[in-house]
Symmetry: C2
Subunit: 317 residues, 2 copies
């Protein structure tokens, strides 16, 4: 039997947090490193670096120059484009991949409920109106994109007994109760029976402008389009036409094309359109989430376990 | 061994649906009776009656006069005040108790997300704004009232990992992970740490005006009040003062006092107040839900099983 009550001597990783130009994030990451079981040390003594200012990627070469012992770099982004030039393959790189899917799914759910239940109409009203609105309970929901946001949204929809269709590049043939997957080529058919269509896919040349007049015309006259992906998935002029002619119930857009949507754009004044300014995951919402990723990765590192959100330095994501 | 392939002769209950003055409900209930295994018959031949027009309670005596064989009456209401004068204790009475909790909880969730994420502010905006909003994920939620709406809301909040406090008359001492119950006398303390306070309790003399300046002052400056119960739970003037002084984050009200809220009332123009006109459960939303109750009760009746939503004719609910 091992002696009881004797603490096991553990290796506390020596981790630098830099730069300190964004105090809220810096402080959150310092706490996260300590909570994960690490010691915060100057870059000169560090074996790992947690990058703490998304806007200062350009400062990386000057800082890493002093970090000769650094083997692992944790980045705060989900998409790491700003660091593309610095991805030294001799180091291990991790990022915030997947961390932000939950708040984005939450925003999508908020926009779905707002659209179906007419909350935008009521928010603008200054008098008691006739009842409008539909239940999300039991509604037919088509989610375009089968990634992390879709996973989280499907989990949030569980209590609502929705009839869910997931449209994705590689559909899963097995069909669960009230849930099925269809290939992206069947998009027009897949939106036809939906009460809400949610866009939650990556923007690639193949998905640019994927929601055009043909897709919008296939939607039911009461159906809502919710976009929490990228503005360029939707052909904006086609959407304006469909909303003006009331060929769909409405659109709730967290992303637009162009973005920011310019003052005076017709989407601002259409009564069946809700626009939120790309706030599904605000910096304030994201901070505790990326801090939790830092904490977990420090704990994994301390125990020699695999890290979350590994970056492929060759592929660049 | 019993003979296989021989259908068991079943007793199909003979059920009248009346009146037929509200065609949408009448037709939904006729279908529900048949789906539940009953035959729709004239009142003269019926052993049970499904009441199909909530606005016509006064017509009941004339109709039941022809229904000498009727033993059971199914009502379409959750609260049966309109039928109070007709509750013959010689009959079995059932109603829509609990049926409407889900859409009301859904509306509460929609109002919570709208408030926390500033959807009302964005709905009124005609330009790209700075990010505002907070996550429901991980938020502290205080639900006042521990009935059916609370149960459904707690289920809908499951994926959000909220820290939930339920304030009720008879708290349950056992505390689940991130969920606790407190007595209504502790209301002031129970709202202090909440990001959202949801009112989902019954209106009684004891709960009339329960949310006053003292409760509102105890709330955090960013916290939202959501009311899907009754307008008179809240002292409206105190709420107007708190919203004007921005002592709370905002209020999302599906019910008001007075109701309907008159034109020109200050709540209409306060930027941190969302008002929906008592639409958590609209007639259109409720119809399939009460039809499902009718279908299930007909099936229970056919099999001699206990009915759902039994009315206590002495207590009157």
């Amino acid at each position: 039997m091992a002696w009881q009550g004797v603490a096991v001597q553990q290796n506390r990783p020596r981790i630098a947090v830099a730069p300190d130009t964004r105090p809220d994030m810096y402080e959150a990451f310092v706490d996260a490193v300590r909570d994960g079981g690490g010691d915060v040390v100057p870059i000169e003594d560090a074996e790992a670096l947690v990058w703490a200012d998304p806007a200062r990627a350009a400062a990386f070469p000057e800082i890493i120059r002093h970090g000769r012992g650094v083997r692992w770099v944790q980045l705060p982004y989900a998409g790491i484009e700003p660091f593309a030039a610095h991805l030294d393959p001799a180091l291990v790189w991790t990022c915030g991949k997947g961390v932000y899917a939950r708040p984005v799914a939450e925003h999508a759910l908020g926009l779905m409920l707002a659209g179906l239940r007419g909350l935008d109409v009521y928010a603008r009203a200054d008098r008691w109106r006739e009842p409008i609105g539909r239940n999300l309970i039991g509604a037919a929901v088509t989610v375009v994109g089968g990634g992390g946001i879709c996973d989280e949204l499907v989990r949030m929809l569980e209590p609502f007994d929705c009839d869910i269709t997931i449209v994705r590049r590689s559909p899963n043939a097995t069909t669960e109760r009230r849930r099925r997957e269809r290939p992206i080529d069947d998009l027009v058919d897949s939106v036809a029976s939906a009460d809400v269509v949610v866009l939650a896919l990556a923007l690639t040349p193949a998905t640019h402008g994927i929601v055009d007049a043909k897709v919008l015309d296939a939607m039911a006259p009461h159906a809502w389009l919710v976009n929490v992906a990228r503005g360029a998935h939707v052909v904006t002029d086609d959407l304006v036409d469909a909303l003006r002619a009331r060929r769909i119930g409405g659109a709730a857009l967290d992303v637009t094309d162009p973005e920011p949507l310019p003052d005076g754009h017709p989407l601002w004044t259409l009564p069946n359109c809700i626009i939120t300014p790309h706030v599904a995951n605000t910096p304030e919402m994201g901070r505790p989430l990326i801090a939790a990723r830092v904490r977990e990765n420090v704990a994994h590192y301390a125990r020699g376990e695999p890290l979350e959100g590994l970056v492929d330095t060759v592929a660049g994501y």
